[in-house]
Amino acid sequence: MAISTSTPPDGPSGTMPTGTDPDPDGDLLRRRTLLHRLDVGGAPYAFIAPFFVVFAAFSLYPLIYTWWISLHRVELSTLNLMEWVGFDNYTALWNDERFWNALLNTFTIGVLSTVPQLMMALGLAHLLNYQLRGSTFFRVAALTPYATSVGAAALVFTMLFERDFGMINWMLNLVGVDNIDWENNKWAAQTAISTIVIWRWTGYNALLYLAAMQAIPRDRYEAAAIDGASRWQQFLKVTVPGIRSTIVFTIVLSTIGATQLFGEPLIFGQGPNGITGGADNQYQTLGLLLYEEGWKNYQMGRAATVAWAMFLLLIVVFVVQQVVRRVLARRT
């Protein structure tokens, strides 16, 4: 551990003049020995070093190295042989229909899962913000799906969405709707996968919103009430602006999550269909495509290209978000 390098050994050592100074206000400067200065100057850096070291080694470096690998042909069986191919992987990806399909699927599933999720989270947070009996129960209940792993959640929902005996089709039959083939119909499959995401994350986001709502000063509501704002207007004019930064934060987190969607569609496809995202790739996401290229087709260079494309996509999405925010801010 690097932590102890800059800290002197325990207790006052022989060279350290210890408070013989009767001055109770403690003239600290007089006892600043070299060791003490080293400690005060160096310790903070030692304390934060582990975070940055691990981040650099396991997040930043791999991300940059991904770019380098994407310019090569690398096979899974011979990882040490890297053949320079320049931008061939990128042109191949650009001309690959599966890539555009996965990109579109990632986008549509992302929208289908994120928009309703955050809307419902906002409503749920608002409800949880009332004076409630049993508020703890409602909060814990809302958060319980978050404790369910992707694996377990996807298995349960895959079964609920089963075509022949699934509970959801059974309920639809009750109201006169025929069985829906949730797995093979493109929009149905994407809706089902989005449902898994929504179920797992709505409560979590609601709690983030609730925390922000509770930090809104009460006098803002009182002022709005005096101005004759209805509850709905108070919600729109006080609550939503008051938690704007948290809303932005959740949008960012959900976007990152949606871009990397992997476990839900993989397990929803149950086996061989999972990796390709359905028989016709109807719900293959970029995450699945990355995995398929690297660990099913053994082309690590191509997998790295997909990863880098995902990264670019994230950057594009954030730039667009910034632009939209600016435009909206100007209009209000």
């Binding site: 930043l60 791999p62 709690l207 509501y221």
Partner: protein
């Protein structure tokens, strides 16, 4: 030296601290809020409509888990009939035992415990160290470095899986637990969370007093910071544990079925051609039980922790 700067619950700072006799606000009591929100306000009492809507939301949240239990306790023929069963059947223990054997869940559970435990421990340790430095120590570049920590949240680690996989192969760590543990030893969210807490809860005078007594930084951390930060550390431990237990993408890539974590083992259950739905559900139930147990016991603390980590100006 006193440590009674801990925020006391009032109806303002903590909504559910309505004055009831059984509420305990004693120091060291379980019901202290971790953070204070000045002037935080909730406006109205909930009406019946709010309760109905909340009830529906709770039902949606909990029903899939209840149904997992139902499906896991019936047999495959019953579970695939319509109308579907709504009450638990008699086969729960048989199915759990079978799923346990079929999916090698015993080993997976142990692996997940090791992985999630190690990640949660190291995250808490490093986050508290770094959080203390960012909250109370003065050093050059503090604000820029803190911005950098927050900025790292925007770099999805999953995008580096290809070189990570190569690194692990080179190190000879393929299919081993260290390959899963090391990349997630630290968390930016954790650092930020501890910094927020310590900024409020740790009085500057205490740190100064330690300095005057000639204690060096690590000693101050050990004797002053750790005792104060015990509650948020426990919460951070649990939240990190949940995340690590449920992490899927990277473990799925780097581990194989001979040495899986729980979510990886669960994929095995559903990938067969002959699918026994009750067994699949029994596996899903087993894989979720440890976390559900944690939620039943510490749900309120975990909720509080997530809410505290969220407050951003």
């Amino acid at each position: 030296m006193t440590t009674d700067s801990i925020p006391v619950r009032t109806a303002d700072t903590c909504p559910e601290a309505a004055p009831k006799a059984r509420r305990n606000t004693a120091p060291g009591g379980r019901r202290r809020p971790l953070f204070r929100h000045p002037g935080a306000g909730r406006q109205h009492h909930a009406g019946p409509v709010a309760y109905i809507l909340l009830g529906i939301a709770a039902l949606f949240s909990l029903f899939p888990l209840y149904w997992t239990l139902v499906a896991a306790s019936t047999d495959n023929t019953r579970v695939t009939q319509t109308p579907p069963p709504f009450l638990p059947g008699p086969h729960l223990l048989d199915n759990l035992g079978k799923a346990w054997r079929d999916a090698a869940l015993g080993k997976a559970m142990l692996n997940s415990m090791i992985v999630a435990g190690a990640i949660a421990l190291s995250t808490v340790l490093f986050a508290t160290l770094a959080g203390f430095a960012f909250a109370k120590l003065r050093f050059k570049g503090r604000n820029i470095l803190l911005m950098l920590v927050i900025g790292t949240m925007l770099v999805p680690p999953q995008l580096g899986v290809v070189p990570l996989f190569m690194m692990m192969s080179e190190l000879g760590w393929g299919q081993t637990l260290p390959a899963v543990i090391f990349p997630t030893l630290v968390s930016a969210v954790g650092v930020f969370f501890m910094r927020q807490y310590l900024t409020e809860a740790l009085p500057d005078e205490l740190v100064e007093a330690g300095r005057v007594d000639g204690a060096h930084s690590l000693r101050i951390f050990w004797s002053i910071v750790l005792p104060i930060a015990r509650a948020p550390m426990a919460v951070l431990f649990m939240i990190t544990f949940v995340h690590a237990w449920n992490d899927f993408f990277w473990p799925f890539i780097v581990l194989d079925m001979t040495n899986p974590t729980v979510p990886v083992a669960l994929t095995q259950l559903s990938a067969g051609y002959v699918r026994d739905q009750s067994l699949i559900m029994a596996g899903a139930l087993l894989g979720t039980l440890p976390l559900l147990a944690m939620f039943v016991v510490f749900g309120r603390q975990i909720v509080g922790g997530i809410m505290q980590g969220a407050v951003k100006g």
